[in-house]
């Protein structure tokens, strides 16, 4: 983390603190009001404002004489550069022409920021043409000089200092206001820059951790795919050999042995199903789902799914009904669609207590689509969980002592398979009132990327 140096720690020149254009206007109106010239220099001697009032002819005449020009330059030099104290006292500078200037340092926060020069004016106590002026040229025309001098305002010294004091008070307020505005604006910019920098830092860190998480997620999916494949191989043998023994290939069995083997086979098949789900999810996550498309009768699939779950539902004491209606044929992956329906029905049976009912219903929708609803009267899902039930591994009851089994993969598989068909899944639920899951499928999954990837030969009547 590095901060660039703040302007707060820099010293600002006078020109930055004043809006020079409007300041010049103020100086002009001020000079006109008092009919006396006004000059403002910054600390480095740069002239910021120069207002001449009434002295043009007089000074112009003096300037026309070589000695006069010399004297003039000397006076201007002193006015501009003579050291001024750090007190707010004015300095009076006498010009050889008899005119006077009052020079006042501009003090701000204890620093000399520049100077204000008030003049030239003719002092009231000495209005005459001094000999220092008369001697600048042999042909000095005193009469014209007097006429020119009369155009310059006569000011008593006390008044000059008062006028200047008034101007300095004004200037102080202008500098303070300018300083305040400058600080406000600059600090605002610095604050925005600093916030931006901070955000970029945070974004970079977030991006970094996001990449790490993505990599971890990929490793997890790979691991799951490999493991489920490796688990399936020995499990197939367990199931196969159990089956062989049940068929009597290993010799006659007692009734008890037969019962035990039946259990081994059943549990083995449960396990195989679970592992297959994991493999499916890994494939889905790796983007390796391929649809094998054919024309499918949805009503047949619905009855088939219901029939699969019927024994379990009866055992639990549930009423099951299947109302496919007159659904059109769809082009879909038969096995995957069947699995979707089985998963939904299996959930419905699992989460509906005795005495409840499960209804599977078909519906034709506009726009060449159809819907299949699986409704139950079970425990339902609260709104907070409803949006997440399609997430992989998500369980409404995540505790280890939960009442209902399952790996949290069923709905995630349903969602992926349906979306691969270009369809969508929806869930509606009333806690303790039941849930309805709906699959919406296009009659023909045009444009679904997974379909395009499937070999065209697979699409058949």
């Amino acid at each position: 983390m590095s901060l660039s140096a703040s302007f707060l720690n820099q010293r600002l020149p006078l020109a930055d603190l004043l809006d020079l254009r409007s300041f010049a206007e103020v100086c002009h109106s001020f000079a006109e009001l008092y009919r006396v010239g006004l000059k403002v220099f910054d600390e480095a001697g740069n002239k910021l404002v120069d207002v001449k009032v009434g002295n043009a002819d007089f000074c112009g005449y003096i300037w026309s004489k070589p000695l006069g020009r010399e004297g003039c330059i000397a006076t201007v030099g002193r006015v501009k550069s003579d050291p001024v104290g750090e007190e707010s006292e004015p300095t009076v500078i006498h010009c050889f022409s008899g005119c006077r200037y009052v020079v006042q340092p501009i003090l701000y926060e204890g620093d000399v920021m520049g100077r204000v020069v008030f003049g030239p004016f003719v002092p009231e106590d000495a209005p005459d043409i001094p000999t220092t002026l008369k001697s600048i040229a042999e042909d000095f025309d005193e009469k014209s000089a007097r006429l020119f001098q009369a155009k310059i305002r006569q000011v008593p010294m006390g008044t000059a200092e008062k006028i200047l004091k008034h101007f300095m008070d004004l200037l102080d307020v202008m500098i303070f206001t300018g300083h305040k505005n400058l600080i406000a604006a600059k600090l605002h910019i610095e604050a925005v820059q600093e916030s931006y920098r901070e955000l970029q830092d945070k974004n970079a860190k977030l991006e970094d951790s996001y990449q790490k998480l993505k990599e971890l997620d990929r490793l997890k999916s790979n691991f799951l795919a490999t493991m489920s494949h490796e688990l399936r191989t020995p499990l197939t043998s367990v199931i196969g050999y159990s089956e062989m023994m049940l068929e009597g290939l290993g010799g006659p069995l007692t009734a008890e042995q037969r019962e035990y083997l039946g259990i081994i086979m059943e549990k083995g098949e449960n396990l195989l199903q679970l592992i297959t789900s994991i493999l499916d999810i890994s494939k889905i996550e790796a983007g390796r789902v391929r649809l094998v498309l054919s024309e499918v009768e949805p009503a047949v699939l619905m009855r088939d799914a219901v029939a699969t779950l019927l024994p379990l539902a009866r055992k639990k004491g549930l009423k099951v009904s299947c109302e496919p209606g007159s659904l059109p044929r769809v082009v879909a992956d038969r096995d995957k669609l069947r699995q979707c329906l089985v998963n939904l029905c299996s959930n419905a049976v699992k989460f509906t207590p005795a005495g409840g009912s499960v209804t599977v219903r078909g519906e034709t929708l506009v726009g060449d689509r159809l819907a299949m609803h699986v409704a139950d009267t079970g425990i339902g899902i609260s709104a907070e969980h409803l949006s997440k039930v399609f997430d992989v591994f998500y369980q409404v009851d995540g505790s280890s002592t939960r009442e209902y089994g399952g790996a949290g993969l069923g709905l995630a598989i349903v969602k992926s398979f349906v979306e691969a068909h270009g369809g969508e899944v929806k869930a509606e639920s009333v806690p303790n009132g039941g849930s309805t899951f709906t699959l919406i499928l296009p009659l023909r999954p045009a444009g679904a990327p997974a379909v395009q990837a499937a070999p065209p030969a697979a699409v058949s009547g």
Partner: protein, 230 residues
């Protein structure tokens, strides 16, 4: 960072009042503005845009010239207290030579005080400043309020933060001058150690503090009159 200008014989010192929103930072500066003679201080600049309060901090300069002709400029700043002004706080804190942490003594504010203390340490670090060496004073403000924590809790705080703690009721101007005095004393000693204020610039601690506090209205403070130090 203190700025030394050998050529113009100037020293610029930055003092920052840090603390949670509404702990009394601005009140401190306002009280000092009242108590310090206008000859040695500038205007109190308060940057607050009333409606949206985008920017909010205060600044007041204090300046004097030592007998050896060195101009010393102290700039007192407050940081904006609201949480959202984090970047402004960090900018204002940049290059500070001394920090007064203004804490609201009420027990109800303890959590926010601790949070801002940590926030300050983080922002000091971001500015390359080490709080263990930076002159730092904690002002336990609002001692007059009924919920203010007791002496014992203050003592615990002292042990925790390793910095002098000054009790104050800034709204009545109590403890404000003492806080600045303690802070500037630490600040002088730190600058003297690092830059040799006395050996290189002929400024003694007595003169440094005296030049400022002889222009401060010390009535009602625990400080002795500094008049003899002039």
């Amino acid at each position: 960072m203190v700025q030394f200008n050998e050529e113009s014989r100037e020293i610029a010192v930055k003092v920052v009042y840090y603390g949670p929103a509404l702990s009394g930072k601005t009140t401190n500066l306002q009280a000092l503005f009242q108590k310090i003679d206008g000859k040695v201080r500038g205007r109190l600049m308060t940057l607050d845009t009333k409606d949206d309060r985008t920017l909010f901090f205060d600044m007041m300069p204090v300046f004097f010239k030592t007998r050896a002709g060195v101009k010393v400029k102290l700039k007192l700043y407050t940081v904006p207290g609201q949480v959202m002004h984090e970047s402004t706080r960090r900018i204002v804190l940049q290059g500070s030579d001394a920090v007064a942490f203004v804490a609201d003594s009420r027990r109800s504010e303890a959590a926010s005080t601790v949070a801002y203390w940590r926030n300050m340490l983080a922002n000091l670090e971001a500015n390359g400043l080490d709080y263990r060496t930076l002159p730092l004073v904690v002002q336990a403000n609002k001692r007059d309020l009924p919920d203010a924590c007791g002496e014992e809790e203050l003592a615990n705080l002292l042990a925790e933060v390793q910095a002098p703690v000054e009790p104050a009721v800034a709204i009545r101007g109590e403890g404000v001058v003492e806080t600045l005095h303690t802070l500037l004393q630490l600040c002088y000693r730190s600058l003297d150690r690092t830059f040799g204020l006395e050996s290189n610039w002929q400024i003694t601690e007595r003169e440094f503090l005296g030049q400022i506090f002889s222009h401060v209205d010390l009535r009602g403070t625990r400080l002795p009159s500094e008049a003899e130090a002039r």
